[in-house]
């Protein structure tokens, strides 16, 4: 019988559990790291599978449903993601996370929705609830759920569905599924966000009391313009102005996650809009591996220059209002990544310390191997590696006194080291 938990028929290593420490062992080993954060990491690393009983709990009139689903769930709503008891989001998509390890299972146990592994209960979980504006449509006929996306406490604007790095063969980031899948939007109406749709959706969104604490704007890189990335910058400025129309205050909790802009571009972004925070992700904390994993980025903005632009951003936005992230795990990808987890961790933390000493905040996204990416079929590191990295980033941020609110469990939820900064 076909394994329903493995719809993509990924080759699984039947002995993978014998080769690495388990969730239970890691939570005992790292007594000062929250078991909730360790659960978040491991589920993001291994993915989830929903049993029929769990899917029976999905109420499409209340819960947020994934927009694309595998055939295995055909005709049934698949939850977008999960929340833990402490409010931590597990940003895990059943539809895009498939690894050579077995996924966690979400099942109903004693009447409660539970995260389980090998029939052992790990934690109670909750489905995300969707915002009301998801049911509405703009005057152009665009469903508002396609204009803005939502997590439990924040919403997001997908600025551009097509990343220019994919125009040149081999220049897309190797772990990226957005870019590879975005080519179909090139030159279409859907390539960029529509400002009219954005304005109308915002007018509905702000009616929802207690629903949102922040917004993030992000999208593929746009190289074009009067100087490199000027069109991308202008897109963010226009969108932020449109968002700002619904607020009484000049500034509102908002973050742009873009290509690294120059000082002049950053000043424009800060001075012409109501933005509060800025992120630009280095993706890999090692120059040669960055050039291999992110060739398009490296060709446009060399590693050292990317860092200098981050430092300029701290001067403009302030300490605690700027951070940078890595897709943690790609630094170990074969064949050009680090050969050992210890070596990768040493380099990651040295570079993290250098960035933090300049006031730049740190975050990492647990790499889940995305279907359609060049790195498809690679394996992610051990849970032990991720916990050491999480603790390392957290400790360095504490050492340099860098607040993490801009990307907290409320305003993002994706980053384990930031989610840990609540105690």
């Amino acid at each position: 019988m076909a394994d329903k938990t493995n719809p993509r028929k990924i080759e699984r290593d039947p002995n993978w559990r014998k080769k690495e420490e388990s969730f239970a062992e890691i939570t005992k080993k790292y007594e000062t790291v929250s078991p909730f954060i360790i659960a978040q990491i491991d589920v993001q690393r291994r993915g989830v599978f929903y049993t029929d009983a769990a899917l029976d709990r999905v109420d499409p009139s209340i819960h947020q449903i994934s927009k694309s689903a595998f055939a295995v769930y055909e005709g049934r709503g698949v939850p977008t993601s999960l929340l833990l008891r402490d409010g931590t989001s597990i940003i895990v998509s059943e539809t895009s996370t498939q690894t050579p390890r077995d996924p966690y299972t979400v099942d109903v146990v004693d009447g409660k929705l539970m995260l389980t592994d090998e029939d052992r209960v790990v934690e109670e979980v909750f489905f995300w609830e969707k915002p009301k504006f998801f049911e509405k449509t703009t005057s152009r006929g665009t469903p508002m759920c396609e204009v803005l996306d939502a997590r439990p406490q924040r919403f997001s604007v997908a600025m551009s569905n097509y990343c220019h790095f994919w125009t040149k063969p081999g220049h897309g980031c190797k772990y990226c599924g957005i870019g590879a899948g975005g080519v179909k939007f090139k030159g279409t109406d859907e390539e960029r966000v529509h400002l009219g749709d954005l304005r109308e959706t915002m007018r509905e969104l702000v009616k929802e009391k207690g629903r949102f604490v922040g917004v993030i704007l992000t999208g593929g890189s746009i190289i074009s313009g009067s100087e490199p990335f000027e069109d991308e910058l202008n897109g963010y400025i226009d969108a932020l102005k449109a968002l700002g129309e619904v607020f009484e205050t000049r500034r509102f909790p908002s973050q742009v996650n873009s290509t690294a802009f120059t000082r002049r571009q950053l000043e424009r972004l800060y001075n012409e809009t109501g933005i509060t925070c800025y992120t630009t992700d280095l993706e890999v904390f090692h120059e040669a591996i960055y050039e291999w994993v992110c060739p398009g980025k490296a060709a446009s903005i060399p590693y050292g220059e990317w860092k200098r632009r981050l430092y300029a951003a701290v001067e403009i936005f302030g300490k605690g209002q700027v951070n940078t992230g890595i897709v943690s795990g790609v630094e170990l990808a074969e064949p050009n990544g680090f050969k050992s987890e210890d070596e990768a961790l040493r380099v990651d933390l040295e570079e993290a310390e250098d960035l933090a000493s300049h006031g730049v905040g740190l975050k990492h996204d647990v790499w889940h191997v995305v279907p359609g990416s060049i790195f498809w079929n690679r394996t992610t590191p051990s849970l032990d590696y991720y916990v050491r990295l999480t603790k390392g980033f957290y400790d360095i941020m504490q050492k340099y006194g860098i607040p993490s609110h801009m990307d907290s469990y409320r305003k993002c939820g994706m980053h384990p080291n930031v989610n840990h900064d609540r105690i």
Binding site: T32, S34, P35, F36, I62, L83, R85, D86, G87, F126, W128, E129, P152, Q153, E208, K209, G210, R211, H405, R410, R422, I423
Partner: protein, 159 residues
């Protein structure tokens, strides 16, 4: 293991007249205490309260207690001195969803439009005792009759 509170403790938690405090400990091990007017008892027997300030010490310590299974203490004090002490481990911080949105509207009605809500904390009670001084003194006299200053039992004529 969750317990069912006595009727007196339950009534004290639900009464708008009692002062209610929560004491917590965080990662530094320092005790912290705060008055929380919104502390109450839900129909299912769980203690609940609204945390209105996202980065408050109580909020941080409650997250710590939830993460690492540490108990917190809730104390009620009435005008006449009746007092109840209850302990439990926080089970959940409700930060989103329908119940949170209803609570948010409730907070704004009660405290005005400048009030915010960070979480509804749910704490199943695990332990309780009445802390009213007269009750505690009576218990102490039975449990430890000789833990007293001796002048209290001296002959009246010699005091």
């Amino acid at each position: 293991m969750a317990i069912v509170l006595t009727k007196k403790a339950a009534a004290a938690l639900r009464s708008p007249e009692t002062v209610k405090l929560i004491a917590t400990v965080g990662k530094e091990g320092e005790p912290h205490v705060a008055v929380k007017d919104t502390l109450t008892l839900l129909p299912d027997g769980t203690i609940a309260f609204y945390e209105l300030i996202e980065t408050s010490k109580t909020q941080k310590n409650l997250v710590y207690s939830l993460w690492f299974s540490k108990r917190v203490s809730v104390l009620t004090v009435a005008r006449d001195g009746e007092s109840h002490l209850i302990k439990g481990v926080p089970y959940r911080a409700v930060t989103a969803g329908g119940a949170f949105l209803e609570a948010y509207e409730d907070v704004q009605k009660r405290y005005g439009p400048d009030a915010d809500l960070s979480a509804i904390w749910l704490i199943p009670p695990e332990w309780e005792r009445e802390n009213t001084l007269a009750v505690r003194r009576a218990e102490e006299e039975i449990a430890h009759p000789y833990e007293i200053h001796m002048d209290r039992i001296a002959k009246e004529a010699l005091r």
